[in-house]
């Protein structure tokens, strides 16, 4: 386990296996909140934070509670509960202590609980890294990178959608259908990254 391996995980999860363009995780907020660049940035920040932290927390719960108790088959229930309560806790903490940040992220935080990218990264971490040496560090990198990739996708999409408002789109395709088709075209461009290897 060295720095190079972590870098590969990071680049892989941001560009090659981008959570939105190639893994289809977190599409609901992607379609819902990507209309303006500032809100896309806010949502992206919130997702980066929650994904990184929940990678750490689910790792701890799995390795320190579920494995010693021999109840790893309950991981789905444990992960979703831990993530939901973590998001709730962050919301309460921010509201009291960093009100400015809370106002910026406020409405996006509760939405994140049902963002499948967060539970998705925990499940992927479990499949790929748990039980291997240095697993905690790899999970953190995958969580952080996944969030960065999500934010990248959101901001690219928001930039395009701001211009789409002025375009003459057929009535039936306005809104979400054209957003999906646009995302398809971007993801075709992202396919180019799949040749990226070290």
């Amino acid at each position: 386990m060295d720095f190079f391996e972590l870098l590969m995980i990071f680049v892989g999860v941001v560009l090659v296996h981008n959570f939105i363009f190639s893994r289809f995780l977190g599409l609901c907020p992607y379609v819902g909140v990507s209309e303006r660049i500032p809100s896309a940035m806010g949502m992206g920040m919130a997702v980066i934070f929650v994904m990184t932290m929940s990678s750490v927390i689910t790792w701890a719960v799995y390795e320190w509670v579920l494995v010693p108790c021999g109840i790893t088959y309950l991981y789905i229930i444990a992960f979703i509960l831990v993530i939901a309560s973590f998001v709730q806790l962050v919301e309460m903490f921010l509201q009291k202590s960093v009100p400015a940040l809370y106002r910026a992220l406020g409405i996006y935080l509760p939405l994140i609980t049902t963002n499948c990218a967060v539970l998705g990264v925990a499940t992927l971490n479990r499949q790929e890294f748990f039980g291997t040496p240095g697993s905690l560090l790899k999970c953190v990198v995958q969580g952080f990178g996944g969030g960065v990739g999500f934010m990248l996708a959101m901001v690219i999409m928001a930039g395009i959608r701001e211009r789409l408002d002025l375009a003459d789109v057929p009535e039936a395709l306005k809104g979400i259908p054209i957003a999906l088709i646009t995302a398809g075209l971007i993801s075709m461009a992202f396919l180019g990254f799949s040749g990226l290897s070290f």
Binding site: L27, L74, I76, I77, A84, N115, C116, A172, G175, M188
Partner: protein
Amino acid sequence: MSAARGGPEGAWGQFSKGVFRLNPIFVIILGLCPALAVSVSVANAIGMGAAATFVLLGSTLVVSSLMGTLRRFFSPPLYRQVQRIRIPIYIVVIASFVTIVDLVMHAWAPALHARLGIFVPLIVVNCIILGRAEAFASRHGVGASLLDALGMGLGFTLALCLLSAVRELLGAGRLFGAPVFGPAFRPALVMTLAPGALITLGLLMGLFRYRRLRRGDDGLL
């Protein structure tokens, strides 16, 4: 369009609204992630649809009977307290049923389980299931809620089948794994990859909306 939201009365109305008029994928636009990810082949789509329908039925049964019982036996102030933690309750119920599906599928259909991958555990965060628990099952009786869940599950499965049929036909030239076109057909590989999924869904959604616009029934979105 108040009728479109509540749906017409009667058992058939409760059941059929999820299949077409309130189709979860094409009309309400919930649960896109699994729809796009597993729709590579029709077999995958049916497996995913069946798993989601089972979870939907189970969680609906528990949520509607639980909330109905609590409403009847708790005093109103106590019931309001319970209402505040209803979302975590729903999530635990749903996660239990997803765990059942995950273990059963792992034991009896390991190939399907491997193909669906992380999207089996991710049924927990499928917005359709939590959405139906919150919007319908918690407010209606057990019978109506089960019909609603069955219709929504069927609508989800049919939408997945439609999406995957297009992708499998164009991307691999097959349907249910059997070759459809002659050997001269050269499949468009891109349809089985991520871009094909997004573009196909966008166009199908546009088609559904075009149909609604033509009939002048645009009160839903």
